[in-house]
Symmetry: C2
Subunit: 430 residues, 2 copies
């Protein structure tokens, strides 16, 4: 339940998609790593908050207690510490496992791919962070998914907002996870959850509401830097100054048109410590929809400067920032689009079918196809001793093979072959 | 235990190796599929004989009882039945899991990659089987692993031998698994296991010994077809005639020089029903060794016409033949060879580093690198505001980046850049 086989058509589409993502990661100088699907259970415990219950555990069959990885970030942090690496730009494309309620039509599975790019190391502020946003921009543009916006915020700004609104520090995380719902429900509902479930005062909630409904660009950053209360809060000021720097870099990258500084963005995971971001598509495939509708997040990430230190016996920190591309959701979109277009994706790359028009020519086919393979040509033949020519040409049409090389008695006698263009039926002897 | 992280250098070597294998599979017209790492426990039970105890089981956390796949063949058979596919040429490169005693220096892990190519469908005899052997030949030649031999046998011939030597049918499988040890221990030991543990008569064992120590080519097949006893056995005769046909096809492929019809080859798995084969490397890396020494199997496979029927509620059979490339062992060999050569494999593909020779030029670097990325150039820069030029060039040398594009105050004023060849130190303004 919640897993699926990928038949050839899906596997081919997935390969195309992954290769677009990976080539972007490589364009930015990332190296690949791989880690086991199995992790020690203790490595995963205490990293995902409430979601720990979604971790798949292996049966105790003797030896170590194991679990299936839940994401690629925690294994990356574990990798850095175990291998004593303090500087690294890496990508990792692999499957992760969550005992979640699957919603397969929306691309939510229990086994699914993650595509992660992370930069670990102590660097000057916002330069790696800006590159992560550039990567999201490149990938979403490259895949032609339609219009999108990348929302950006900073955990320090959010925490600063909570502080100046009179929220006690112990309630920052619950307040944060309530704010995170603003992309799905209206402010009124968020407010009532804050006051009801999370126990904030109505005044604090109203005050928070004034901030978290703001979004904009450099102008908003400047305005908040002048905000009499917020500018007095150390965390918020740091966050806002870094946000300004980030926008400066993004302007140089020429991508601020798709970036929105959005104070309602909070992100679920506990481990973020600085910049956070999330990309959403604005249009449905369906062009009849007048109003641009968000189809949900297709990429997200942020800065997590504390996670690696949790694995280090001496608590040494390695600052990290990274991005995860929501490949399953993008895959669902591309799959639906392909289906709607009626286009048939080829599942093989075969260039030529080796065919014979008469009986008793299997030897000639085997000899010729072997020459083609040895020359690096992608070639197939039917696994029959005496196939009909029509069947052979039909196979080309069914599977999209563009050429047939035909060798009959006459061709054998003349020492030539006939090369046939399957679509145009043109033939040349050579 | 028995798993490993792949740091960038290993991941890059693995990518190179897998891409050689996959491009061969594609050259032969195979389509990719993917199946979940998780399978229902019941799917895997009863397929691996004694090795069932090596299957990793997941904890019962509610819902289905799951296990990690043990190989890619059983999931393929399950896939064919579930998706009602009766004809398919597919490849699958993925990780499998075995709770075995790891021997990591010899490339034996608990989590490891398998690279499988299989042809499912009812076809004329030996044509797909011959292609599997051609594939092994192409891959091992392509990877330049040194001299190798592909041993070929047929389960029907082996069973025929047992029958004519007076072994009761109930003892075919135990006799088979004893014969399988002939590549590791001398005949005398195999004989004593047959008589002692397996309870064959000394006469039967001696008689078997006369057959299973034979190996050769077409001449041996002809001789056995004339063998007064063996030629009377229906199974053996079928197997020998198909073996003759196979050699005919392999002659047309021009690869019989590396093929040995070897009656001692038995293969461990129960599910084989016809042709079986195994490729072994003949030379150690070490050239001081006078006698060619076998370093073990690097590829193997065979025909399994009954496995798919085990999953079909109506028992409908789909004949299959396939090959699995022993990628981990090959990886170990390539890794040792790379280490011995002192060659350093690049872990990234970066073409150019964007560098500045003076301070306060971060903006120029960010602008230029963004142009390069947008033009599809693989480019990096250091994540520092004011890095020293020497540090930047050192980074190129350390990571193998061949070019540096340098933009300083003068270049900015002139509207040019300097392109520097890192190795030769030549520079051009452009």
């Amino acid at each position: 339940q919640g897993t699926r086989d990928h038949p050839p058509a899906q596997a081919a589409l997935r390969e195309r998609l992954l290769s677009a993502v990976v080539s972007c990661f490589k364009r930015h100088g990332a190296a690949a790593i791989d880690t086991p699907v199995l992790e020690l259970r203790e490595t995963l415990m205490g990293k995902y908050g409430e979601d720990t219950k979604l971790i798949y555990e292996l049966q105790d069959q003797g030896g170590e207690l194991l679990a299936l990885r839940y994401d690629l970030t925690v294994p990356f942090a574990r990798y850095l510490v175990m291998n004593k690496v303090t500087n690294m730009k890496r990508y990792h494309v692999a499957k992760v496992y969550r005992r979640d309620n699957p919603a397969t039509t929306r691309g939510r599975y229990r086994e699914f791919y993650q595509c992660d790019f992370d930069i670990a190391g102590q660097y000057d502020p916002m330069i790696p962070d800006a590159e992560c946003l550039k990567i999201v921009h490149e990938i979403l543009s490259d895949l032609q998914l339609g219009d999108f916006v990348i929302k950006v915020n900073d955990r320090r700004i959010l925490n600063g907002v909570f502080a100046v609104c009179g929220v006690p520090e112990s309630k920052f995380i619950p307040a944060c996870s309530t704010v995170d719902k603003l992309d799905k429900v209206p402010w009124e509902e968020v407010r009532s959850e804050m006051v009801g479930e999370k126990g904030l005062s109505p005044e604090a909630a109203d005050h928070i509401g004034e901030y978290v409904q703001l979004h904009g660009g450099l102008d908003l950053i400047e305005r908040l830097l002048q905000d009499p209360k917020l500018s007095q809060n150390k965390l918020a000021k740091e966050g806002l100054e870094d946000m300004k720097l980030l926008f400066e870099y993004l302007t140089l990258f020429g991508i601020t048109g798709k970036i929105s500084f959005d104070l309602s963005l909070a992100r679920g995971l506990d481990y973020y410590t600085g910049v956070i971001f999330e990309a959403v598509l604005l249009h449905q495939e369906n062009e009849h929809v007048e109003e641009p509708v968000s189809v949900g997040s297709v990429a997200g990430g942020g800065r997590y400067d504390g996670l690696v230190g949790m694995f280090d016996p001496k608590g040494r920190k390695v600052p990290c920032v990274g991005v995860s591309i929501g490949i399953e959701r993008i895959f669902s979109i591309l799959e639906q689009r392909l289906e709607a277009s009626g286009e048939k994706l080829r599942t093989t790359e075969t260039q030529v079918l080796v065919a014979t028009p008469q009986k008793h020519l299997l030897a000639a086919r085997l000899k010729l196809i072997s020459e083609l393979w040895d020359a690096g040509i992608k070639a197939e033949m039917l696994y029959k001793k005496n196939p009909k020519l029509l069947k052979q040409l039909q196979y080309c049409e069914d599977t999209g093979i563009p050429l047939a090389v035909i060798v009959g008695e006459q061709e054998l006698a003349d020492g030539v072959v006939k090369l046939r263009d399957v679509a145009t039926r043109e033939e040349v002897r050579m």
